[in-house]
Subunit: 164 residues, 2 copies
């Protein structure tokens, strides 16, 4: 279990369990958040560039979050995202597809405190928070790739000096 900042290391990998996505899941999410033909109606979807029913990209992203939460990569500590870069939808997510998530710690940056949270563009976190970046790669060919800046709170500070 990763409980302290010092327990983390660049190159550490995480892998989640699998989630199967159903036709009903796809339509329900799309009805609320992304009501477009390729997410709602099989016949209409055939006539679109997706060539068949496929999940909203935001649905895929939300499922990825759930897989990450269930993984508890940081033990009792919350998974708290500050932002995402390089989110890419590489292929359609179809009914019956199985998703899983793989992550790797690619960067570790201790952050002592945020003196100006708006200017820095981060939510107010307790002293001693830190940032790390994770690449997540669900199972191909159903692919989402993203780079996440996550924050772990209430962890012991690194023995590295926090950046000013």
């Amino acid at each position: 279990v990763v409980e302290w900042f010092d327990d983390l290391a660049v190159g550490m990998r995480f892998k989640s369990q699998e989630k199967v996505v159903t036709r009903e899941d796809i339509k329900r999410f799309a009805s609320e958040f992304d009501p477009q033909p390729y997410h709602l109606d099989e016949a209409a979807a055939e006539q679109t560039p997706l060539k068949g029913l496929a999940a909203s990209g935001w649905h895929t992203a939300a499922i990825a979050m759930r897989l990450a939460v269930d993984l508890h990569p940081f033990g009792p500590h919350p998974l708290f995202g500050l932002g995402v870069d390089e989110l890419r939808w590489l292929a359609p997510l179809r009914p019956g597809d199985r998703l899983h998530l793989e992550g790797e710690v690619v960067e570790l940056t201790p952050v002592g405190e945020f003196t100006n949270t708006r200017k820095n563009g981060v939510a107010p976190l307790s002293r001693g928070a830190l940032l790390l970046s994770i690449d997540t790669v669900p199972e191909m060919p159903t692919a989402v790739r993203r780079r996440v800046s996550a924050a772990l709170t209430n962890l012991r500070q690194s023995n590295q000096r926090p950046r000013p």
Copy 2:
């Protein structure tokens, strides 16, 4: 109505209607996709860095998608995202907060065809598709900022030469 590529111009702006987010919306989304204390339980949320119940960041992103779809910025043409960069959650989204979306065309890139869709990391689109980037800025202090690569399909090609 934007119907052809030539109807688009850098600097064009879009603004959506408003959406009010309820306590029930926040908990329902979180139960399915982001079951952590600050999204599910008022008392527990008070003890976290968010200092009260707040929506999952993926919920905010999904609401932004719905606002964008309802806006029909490209008339009858679909809103088809290929990826997002610089997605940032700048402040918590609270029950009762009102969200809206503002967008600006910041870049226009005609794309003739995708000869190797996997390698290029884009979904197969019809010939003549194009990409554009949009900055979206919901109402402060409930803020999401992102840069979106969207594709318009079935539009007349620009008279600019597509990139190889």
